[in-house]
């Protein structure tokens, strides 16, 4: 027999809402995961924003700017959802800037060519969708609703990214090379986005029991690989994994070993852009300080006038 309303709801697959009682561990796990998710949307704006002014057609410039703007919207939406758990956006930003909170390590890689913009949309948004579709069924109501709203846009992003890569793959030799090079650099980091193997992931089990996570890292990773490899083959690009092979028995692709040392190195600061990403964020935030102060001062003045 369930010993609390919380457990009862979890067992019945009902959503936990902000006013419901919940264990501290559940709350703190959600805050960590949701704020990390929000920060990833925001930090992810930088590598892609890097190419807005250099997009090679007016149409692609507009699509990219709109995409990056969508990501800002996702971040905003997730910050608000996270605030329902009793943390403020200000606190979350502070934790991001001091390194207490993390963001997806994939954004510590640089975008070096236009093909990287295609690769990010195709692979990074592609991986994000697999994860987020699964999170639509997460047990926390505001998080679940955020995922439902966000997923529609993410699938646009994925298609637009793939379209860029397709165009390059069908283009001149130089463009083909650009596309292949981008796939070479972004494939493994994308695979790593799903996090450590289930056997090495200590937090996963609790999150699965609480139904915050609905599928394990490895199963999400597998469905991403199964979905994406044929897309690469279709346009004549080679996935940079010599051990990749279709397994008739399991009905899945087998793939090579993931270099977790590289993963943890980048998480811990050895990516080419770790420092830049946080400094960029701090710089914008600090330079906006006087603006935020002015806005507050102005609205206080207006309020006083009304009261007087």
């Amino acid at each position: 027999m369930p010993n609390s309303i919380f457990e009862d709801k979890i067992n019945k697959d009902l959503k936990i809402e902000p006013r419901d009682e919940m264990p501290d561990g559940y709350r703190s796990h959600l805050i960590r995961q949701m704020s990390q998710h929000a920060h990833s949307e925001i930090i992810g704006m930088q590598p892609e924003g890097n190419w807005i002014t250099r997009a090679p057609s007016l149409r692609s410039k507009m699509i990219l700017l709109a995409k990056v703007q969508d990501e800002a919207g996702h971040g905003l939406y997730l910050y608000s959802a996270c605030e329902t758990l009793g943390i403020t956006r200000k606190q979350m930003i502070e934790e991001l800037q001091t390194g207490k909170a993390k963001y997806s390590s994939i954004f510590n890689y640089p975008t070096l060519t236009w093909a990287d913009i295609g690769a990010i949309g195709w692979l990074v948004d592609g991986a994000a969708i697999v994860n987020q579709v699964s999170l639509q069924k997460t047990s926390y109501g505001p998080y679940s609703r955020a995922m439902i709203k966000i997923c529609k846009e993410e699938s646009f992003h994925q298609r637009q990214g793939y379209e860029i890569i397709c165009t390059l793959a069908k283009g001149t030799d130089e463009q083909k090379q650009m596309a292949q090079d981008a796939l070479n650099r972004w494939w493994w980091p994308s695979i790593m986005m799903f996090g450590p193997h289930d056997k090495d992931s200590n937090r996963s089990e609790k999150a699965l029991n609480w139904k915050i996570k609905r599928e394990s890292n490895d199963s999400l990773r597998q469905s991403f690989i199964d979905k994406t490899v044929p897309q690469a083959e279709l346009i004549g690009l080679k996935v940079p994994d010599d051990k990749l092979i279709w397994n008739e028995k399991t009905n899945h692709y087998d793939f090579g070993d993931i270099d977790w040392e590289e993963f943890w190195n980048v998480v811990n600061g050895k990516g080419l852009c770790n420092k830049e990403r946080i400094e960029h964020h701090k710089k914008a935030h600090n330079e906006g300080e006087w603006v935020r102060k002015a806005a507050v001062a102005y609205s206080e003045k207006k309020l006083n006038k009304k009261v007087a």
């Binding site: 925001i42 704006m45 930088q46 924003g49 807005i52 002014t53 250099r54 997009a55 090679p56 057609s57 007016l58 149409r59 692609s60 410039k61 507009m62 700017l65 709109a66 990056v68 703007q69 800002a72 919207g73 971040g75 905003l76 910050y79 236009w114 165009t167 283009g171 001149t172 130089e174 463009q175 960029h280 710089k283 914008a284 935030h285 330079e287 906006g288 300080e289 006087w290 603006v291 935020r292 102060k293 002015a294 806005a295 001062a297 102005y298 003045k301």
Partner: protein
């Protein structure tokens, strides 16, 4: 690439100003003072790029499709760009960005409301679509001019300096030349120099309400409409055009 008719020359001016405005603002993506404002600025940038796109499509039509939209954007040099000098200026800090949007969108509001009465159906349609967008740019930037003007001491200084600095680029907005003459007589457009009074009144009123002062005795700079620019534009074009220029045979 040279424009042979007055119609094309005139449309190129409008298109280029919007493109360069949008290009500049898009530099700010991920640099806003807070998230909501970051999104708002991207929104405005997207509107300008969208307006530019419609106007280049019109140019393409006027040129019987000889050139594509991207030919206009990526394969013209500094001396063949006809945007206003105002829009190529740096974003600077947030106050300068908002001052620029305010000065420009006030003009655009008047422009598009005139062009929405054009005898040319294409121009009319573009104006009617754009005017809704521009009204938002105007409202948004005007609200910030008021907030910054009557916010803190620091913000007041910053927004006043921005208005002062950008003022010298506002004169040429209202210059009319031979390119406009025939188009005016065919009721396709109205003269740029007839927009000044309304613009001046709106700007004056706003500055007054924002507790700011209107710059006086400013020497106005001019040249954009004739393809004579400040040194800023060249760097913008170099950055914007580099890919199509580096790979001339590529399609994107």
């Amino acid at each position: 690439m040279n424009f042979s008719t007055d119609f094309e020359k005139y449309i190129a001016r409008l298109a280029d100003s919007n493109l360069i405005m949008g290009q500049r603002l898009s530099e700010l993506c991920s640099k806003g003072p807070y998230l909501e404002e970051d999104i708002a600025i991207s929104n405005i940038a997207l509107d300008y790029l969208g307006q530019a796109n419609m106007l280049y499509e019109l140019l393409k039509k006027a040129g019987n499709g000889k050139y594509s939209v991207d030919d206009y954007v990526f394969h013209r040099n500094e001396r063949n760009y006809y945007n206003l000098l105002l829009v190529e200026q740096d974003n600077g800090h947030f106050g300068k960005t908002m001052a620029k949007i305010f000065l420009y969108s006030t003009y655009q509001k008047i422009l598009y409301s005139q062009l929405s009465k054009s005898t040319n159906d294409d121009i009319k349609a573009i104006a009617l679509k754009s005017i809704k967008e521009v009204n938002y740019h105007f409202k948004h930037s005007r609200a910030w001019v008021l907030r910054l003007g009557d916010g803190t001491k620091e913000s007041k200084v910053k927004i006043q300096e921005s208005i002062d600095e950008l003022w010298r680029f506002t004169g040429e907005i209202f210059e009319s030349d031979y390119v406009e003459n025939n188009l005016i007589s065919e009721n396709i457009i109205t003269a740029s120099n007839t927009y000044y009074d309304e613009w001046s009144k709106i700007v004056k009123d706003t500055l007054l309400e924002a507790l700011l002062t209107e710059p006086e005795n400013v020497v106005m700079l001019t040249g954009g409409k004739k393809g004579l620019h400040t040194e800023k534009l060249g760097f913008m074009l170099a950055e914007m055009q580099y890919l199509p220029r580096t790979y001339p045979n590529a399609k994107w």
